[in-house]
Symmetry: C2
Subunit: 310 residues, 2 copies
């Protein structure tokens, strides 16, 4: 059995765990990312912990797989990640390898999700598919001809910033009309507020999350249902572009918002058939991630290392 | 030296020629596609001609490479090509192989262009690039990780049908707002007519082509210049989406309209920098095809076969 240390770095939490090549997770642990004032301090803390764990349990680690926002596969750096406060170019692979004396691999969180889906999820037998990461932002990890698409410079997959007709919301990237302004936690909450205002000429009194809107939708709450319907319709517009460009076998919905897949997928499928050329109709599967109930980001990060030794 | 018969099938003309692995073309010939009432008759005619040529010149053909609209690489059929009148599913590879007793390969014209550019053009040292075919329609041939993107079903590259904001023209595919309604011969002529009408409250008296508009633009004719400027701006909007999804090394302009590249490329570059995320700015090369003065479609079709024996 092969064991890898998976590390999923987020702006708030960093999740670590030992993963075997069947996708079982052992000794999972969550750390407060912001508690550490540098990446060196974070990784040193992780190293100390897993040194003890692996010695006590007689586990020999083969390597380290790391997923992080703006993680660049080619140079091993986290580059200009807005929510990571350790600088603009953090040599994550270099530092990790020198501390662990093991090979480390880094990619961005969306690619890690796609690799996780390929190794342990619903894309095991697929060569051409797109995993959408639906959360705080909107990203995508793309497989084509059986390989991850990193692009020439390591920046591929910025699906959240393609422009869609009739969206005038301003994006955090400072451009207007990005898909992410609708398809993200922030975007969905905004849509709910807009519909709420249109209905009651007022804003909801309390703060709420996408999970709250989901719970309302389950109870057939009109504004919540309309919110997911609108979200799905706009997402379908973006997906129509991907589908006609890349002709994938499947689009896989991943991340927190993907838990609302039963409100999203039927609308996406319907809408897609109005947006794509005849030859693409009913061809592309729209699936929820097979890892929604597992720690998929951690599995994906570990799978990145397994992929490298295939 | 390796010799391949290249066949570029178009709705109007079919171009044939023997191509060597350095990209030299011999015995090029143009046939009227519509003169033949079936593909069998066309290919029989080509076979007879090249039997004689190869015998007389002591050339041994290794195979046949065919580019055609809606040519499907996987099944070897031309599928539902609007301008090809021989039926909806023409088993081009099957028929060609049985007549020539040689291996034949088929792909669509945009992929053939991309393969041509990779073998004989400006993409020789690139692994990630997109070739746009700018002509009657708008297509794209995509290379990722050094391989052609055919997609799961063989339909990838339909760049002409992605939707762009603020376009309300109806496409030949019956959808509205497709990029091709602006970026194509028909689209450019429409734009010219629209600007002409806005200026003179009348339509131009005679029929004209994109080449005519190009010649006017060279003479600094205001409406012609504005036409190319608008075309380039809309094209940049579409390209921003491709670039952020795939992070290619280059976008290569191919096809008749690409001859106007000196009016298009500077505007595309400028406009792209307003449309893409910071990390993509000034990263992606926008190049005219290196094969514009050669019979690129024929070279690409032949290169398809060379690729298959690599």
């Amino acid at each position: 059995m092969n064991f890898v240390l998976g590390i999923d770095i987020g702006g708030t939490n960093t999740v670590t765990g030992i993963v075997d090549n069947k996708g079982n997770i052992y000794f999972e642990s969550v750390i407060d990312t912001k508690k550490f004032n540098s990446f060196v301090n974070l990784i040193q803390d992780i190293y100390t912990k897993y040194c003890i764990i692996s010695r006590n349990n007689n586990i020999k680690l083969s390597g380290v797989g790391i997923g992080a926002p703006n993680g660049n596969y080619y140079n091993g750096n986290i580059e200009y990640a807005p929510n990571i406060q350790w600088g603009n170019n953090i040599p994550v692979v270099n530092i990790t390898e020198s501390i662990f004396k093991l090979t480390a691999k880094l990619t961005n969180d969306a690619n890690a999700a796609a690799i996780g889906e390929k190794f342990f999820g619903c894309a095991k037998n697929m060569n051409d598919f797109v995993v959408l990461t639906l959360g705080t932002g909107l990203g995508s990890g793309i497989y084509i001809n059986g390989k991850v698409v990193h692009g020439k410079h390591g920046y591929a997959g910025e699906f959240g910033h393609i422009k869609i007709e009739n969206i005038d919301r301003l994006c955090t990237c400072k451009l207007q009309g990005c898909l992410e302004t609708v398809i993200s936690s922030r975007g969905i909450i905004q849509t709910y507020k807009d519909y709420y205002f249109a209905e009651y000429n007022d804003f909801p009194e309390t703060e709420f999350s996408v999970a709250d809107i989901y719970n309302l939708a389950i109870q057939n709450h009109k504004i919540a249902c309309k919110t997911f319907e609108y979200t799905a319709k706009i997402l379908a517009k973006g997906l129509a572009n991907i589908i006609m460009l890349l002709d994938p076998e499947a689009i896989i919905l991943f991340g927190g918002i993907a838990n609302a897949h039963k409100f999203l997928i039927p609308v996406i499928k319907d809408e897609l058939n109005n947006k794509v050329l005849e030859v693409f109709k009913n061809k592309v599967k729209i699936l929820p991630s097979a890892l929604l109930n597992k720690n998929a980001a951690l599995l994906g990060s570990a799978a990145l290392f397994f992929k490298s030794i295939e």
